[in-house]
């Protein structure tokens, strides 16, 4: 018995259709997780088949915006993996302090938790005023939420712990105002942040940067798309610029393995050669 591949054919057609119609390119995303998310969307949109969903998506751009929420993974946390941020303080910040002005890029920033975390860290290290932060994502709704800077209050306790473990130098509550069930983060942190729609799959480099953090984005890409993303990072980073990846992501075995050296291997911090 051979597994029925009709579903895979439909999935491929949907992804191709989305690319042709809306220019969102999921063609080189890892298939298993993408398929899972599309099947999840089927029940949400009450479609019997992916083909039915495809027909509706092609004729209804509003529906596509809703589907995009399923295709992307808006799951994020502040100071996720505290040791990553600690390593940035210890190994990246001292070098960044030698630059008169800085540009950093948070690629795939989702709903902004990592952007706020990084801004807080840079503020405490005395770098925020001379740093321009580009925070990019392909999901406009996520970017809107990131701009708003309101995160669920129920999660702030965890964030506070992570902040402290990440070497936080102040009191975490200094950075937000609690209102109802949300924590509104200090807008001053975002003065030098530019949120922008940018795709690692289809867009080009837009600026030279000294530090790029791109965490838990590349795991959703296949090898060739990963290589494209690494190519963009390599092009954007200045000589000896820093690249930070997610805790299970690696440059090893990529086409750019020889173009970076590890700084803190365990924290996936690299430096452009």
């Amino acid at each position: 018995m051979c597994p029925d591949r009709t579903l895979d054919i439909e999935l491929r057609l949907l992804i191709e259709g989305i690319y042709l119609k809306y220019s969102y390119d999921f063609r080189d995303y890892s298939g298993a997780s993408l398929k899972r998310r599309v099947l999840h969307a089927l029940s949400k949109f009450e479609c019997e088949t992916i083909s039915e969903l495809q027909a509706r998506v092609l004729h209804d751009s509003q529906l596509f915006s809703e589907l995009l929420q399923f295709l992307t993974i808006p799951v994020s946390e502040m100071f996720r993996d505290p040791t990553y941020y600690l390593a940035i303080r210890e190994h990246v910040v001292p070098v960044l302090k030698t630059y008169p002005s800085l540009k950093i890029w948070i690629a795939g920033c989702s709903t902004g938790e990592e952007v706020y975390s990084m801004a807080i860290l840079f503020k405490e290290e005395g770098l925020l005023d001379r740093t321009l932060i580009y925070a990019t994502d392909i999901n406009p709704q996520s970017l809107d939420r990131a701009r708003r800077g309101v995160f669920p209050l129920e999660r702030v306790r965890t964030y506070t712990q992570s902040y402290q473990q990440a070497g936080g130098k102040s009191s975490f509550s200094d950075y937000y105002t609690a209102a109802y069930d949300g924590a509104l983060f200090d807008k001053a942190l975002m003065t030098n942040v530019t949120f922008a729609d940018h795709s690692l799959a289809t867009d080009m480099v837009f600026s030279e940067t000294q530090f790029i953090s791109c965490r838990n984005v590349l795991i959703y890409f296949n090898k060739s798309l990963q290589n494209r993303a690494f190519g963009l990072f390599h092009e954007s980073l200045c000589h000896r610029g820093f690249l930070g990846l997610g805790s299970k992501e690696s440059l090893d075995f990529s086409a750019y393995a020889g173009h970076f050296e590890p700084v803190v291997k365990k924290e996936r911090l690299f430096r452009r050669l």
Partner: protein, 203 residues
Amino acid sequence: MKQESDTVFSLAQRQIEAIVIGASAGGLQALSVLLVGLPKNFPLPIVVVIHMPEGKDSKLAEIFRARLEIDVKEADEKEPLHPGTLYFASPGYHLLIEQDRTLSLSREERVHFSRPSIDVLFESAADVFGEHLCGVLLTGANEDGAAGLRAIHRSGGMTIVQDPAEALVPTMPEAALKLFTPDFVLPVRDINTLLVELEQNNA
């Protein structure tokens, strides 16, 4: 459940190409018994999800490497499955199998409060291997894995549930038994015997 003769028959009928195992509370102990004595040249890859607290490094690979003859490692994203190798899912990430038989990771929402989730691994594996997959569900305190094991069953794969009477926490095996009738309900020691038989089958 099948009789002894059916067992031999069903084993002889199929060529298993991969084994997936899920466990939660009590899983370490069960897994130790389950995997003991698998030879270094075991012809199948084994992929395991055990629920562990997020945010900590997993010591699973280290622990089992010392005890087993087969290769043991924490699963890396995009790595191809190799025979005779045991892959553990990392805490905080779902582990999936791609059509090209490489592993991939995901930070999507928890499933049954779990990341990694057994359902996520099992369903993706069922989709890739179809009838050439063997799924094993062990002791655990929640319902993760039951739907995934049923997916393996529906794709024609072989399904084994640890005998709830023996399981340290029977919730997980019982949840599977409520959903469908697996090929085997066995104590871990017998599942171990069966895996070794699989090896001889494939040899």
